[in-house]
């Protein structure tokens, strides 16, 4: 006959070292074990979707920077694709290749951050996160070189990209992709992937079954960890991804460890894509001539990209005016987070933190 206990409610967040922003998780705890989890979102709500209805299509691009601020390029790209689809704009080849290059660089940067923060949630005292930051900084240096900003890049434009790459970009990229990052990934491989404690902490923690993953509409590494090979870049290729050769890393168990290893493998695949894209990079213009206050025809468009977090979709409705009539974002962070309760109930607090870290949410995108 077990001791009768009443569960304690513990607020994990909104101010907590491991909620990756201001996200609140109300956990009902029985001893160390979690009985129930309630998610409270909205602490970073900035009403972007409504604000966007008051601004021109071009003016909305900076909003996408500030949604997933760790993957600004992907946000830019997804939004620009949707407007281009709506207005039926042809994008030059060079711009498409540049978009692929920067999108993949952004994926590397975001996954670096996700991996480091995840190990931090496992309890390592800042070291992995600093190492991952080091590699992320190298990528951000390239962003700064190209568009002057590191975090909120605002680089993609409707009909192309804002600036052509400078002369010193390609040598730097070559050094990064062929020398620095592969070495860094080898270090990750030895220090993080093979670490016994991380295996103990992350194996069989926060398991997502394939059924749950599909029914909850998960995407990105969350879905792939459950053993389902799905990638928007293959399923619905945008830009020039249909010309690129790459593989989809897929996990076995759907646990946190699988998600982490998948992210590391995805970074390697990104490097592969970047190498191909650099090799095929054509000349020509980087941007078509699109009026600044573009007025797309009446209609609606949905376009999606594989952002580092998952399927990032933009749904744009135009009433023929200079501003979108309706602007909606399918944020992968929010949808991936929706299974948190299923993943954490029955586990300990420590597991819940690891699980939350492995989902890789970004509260800017979660709350918009």
């Amino acid at each position: 006959m077990p001791i009768k206990v009443e569960p304690v409610e513990v607020n994990i967040g909104p101010q907590h070292p491991s909620t990756h922003g201001v996200f609140r998780m109300v956990a009902k705890i029985d001893g160390e074990r979690i009985v129930d989890v309630k998610m409270v979102v909205g602490y970073l709500h900035r009403s972007m979707e409504k604000l966007a209805e008051e601004r021109t299509f071009t003016q909305n691009i900076p909003f996408t920077d500030r949604m997933d601020y760790l993957a600004a390029m992907s946000g830019n790209l997804g939004y620009c694709l949707s407007v281009e689809k709506l207005a039926d704009i042809e994008v030059p080849e060079r711009a498409q290749y540049l978009r692929v290059i920067f999108g993949e660089l952004q994926r590397v940067a975001s996954h670096c951050m996700a991996t480091g923060a995840f190990i931090n949630d496992c309890g390592a005292w800042q070291t992995p996160v600093m190492w991952c930051f080091r590699d992320r900084e190298r990528v951000l240096d390239l962003f700064e070189m190209t568009c002057g900003a590191r975090l909120t890049t605002n680089y993609m434009r409707i009909g192309g990209v804002a600036f052509d790459i400078p002369d010193e970009f390609l040598p730097a990229l070559d050094k990064l992709v062929n020398d620095e990052l592969p070495k860094a990934f080898e270090e990750y491989e030895e220090l993080i992937v093979g670490n016994e404690i991380i295996m103990m902490r992350a194996r069989d923690v926060g398991v997502v079954t394939p059924e749950l993953a599909i029914n909850a509409s998960l995407s990105g590494p969350m879905l792939r960890s459950a053993g389902i090979p799905w990638d928007i870049r293959k399923a619905d290729p945008y830009c020039v991804y249909d010309r690129m050769k790459f593989d989809i890393p897929v996990g076995y168990n759907g646990d946190s460890y699988d998600r982490m290893t998948i992210r590391i493998e995805e970074m390697k695949q990104s490097l592969r894509i970047i190498r191909q894209a650099v090799g095929d990079l054509p000349g020509g213009s980087h941007k078509t001539d699109v009026p600044l206050a573009i007025r797309p025809p009446v209609g609606e468009a949905y376009s999606r990209v594989e952002s580092p977090k998952g399927e990032l979709g933009f749904y744009v409705v135009s009433d023929g005016g200079p501003a979108p009539y309706r602007w909606h974002v399918r944020a992968p962070s929010l949808i991936n987070l929706s299974v948190l309760r299923e993943m954490t109930v029955g586990q300990t607090i420590a597991d819940a933190i690891v699980t939350l870290g492995s989902i890789d949410i970004n509260v800017g995108e979660l709350d918009r």
């Binding site: 077990p2 029985d30 074990r33 009985v35 109930v345 029955g346």
Partner: protein, 174 residues
């Protein structure tokens, strides 16, 4: 008789601490605080043991009582619900007080009345080695019995607190 000034002063300080903390164990209203005062009582008693030149016993006292038993008690207190953590008395408070007073009176009377065979031996220098000898030579049987007792106590405690079934991993019907 101990005649060193410092040791006598130390003894009375420690005795005052011990008795004071023991009184606080009886007086404080919250069980957790009582446990903490009890730990302090144990440490004070260990100090008295050192004065009585029993350094091994004193250190064992700190290790077992202050380190383990009081921690065990905190554990037990925290396992019981918050409502039961009051350090209140039963209806036997007054009889207990009277009985304790009587026992104290009798003990003090006997202590003062008896003619003790006092020796003028100096303090023991180091007791650990000779205690070890004593345990393994004249007292080897009680020593083994004590170890068996500890074993039995351990098994008994495990059996008593064993959960019949593992706690459910997932809550149904939420």
């Amino acid at each position: 008789m101990i005649a060193e000034n410092g040791i006598v002063i130390a003894f009375w300080l420690l005795a005052a601490t011990t008795i004071g903390c023991a009184l606080m164990v009886a007086a404080v209203r919250e069980l957790v605080q009582a446990v903490l005062f009890l730990a302090l009582t144990f440490v004070g008693a260990a100090g008295m043991y050192i004065v009585l030149s029993a350094d091994f016993v004193a250190v064992v006292q700190v290790l077992i009582y202050a380190g383990a038993v009081s921690v065990l008690m905190t554990f037990a207190v925290m396992l019981t619900p918050a409502a039961d953590r009051r350090n209140s008395e039963t209806v036997f408070q007054v009889p207990a007080l009277v009985l304790a007073g009587l026992v104290l009176a009798v003990l003090v009377f006997v202590t003062l009345d008896t003619d003790w065979a006092i020796s003028d031996r100096a303090a023991f220098s180091a007791t650990a080695a000779s205690l070890g000898e004593a345990f393994l030579k004249p007292y080897v049987v009680p020593f083994e019995v004590a170890s068996v007792l500890l074993m039995v106590a351990m098994i008994g405690a495990i059996v008593l607190t064993q959960e019949d079934e593992p706690p459910p991993r997932r809550q149904e019907g939420e």
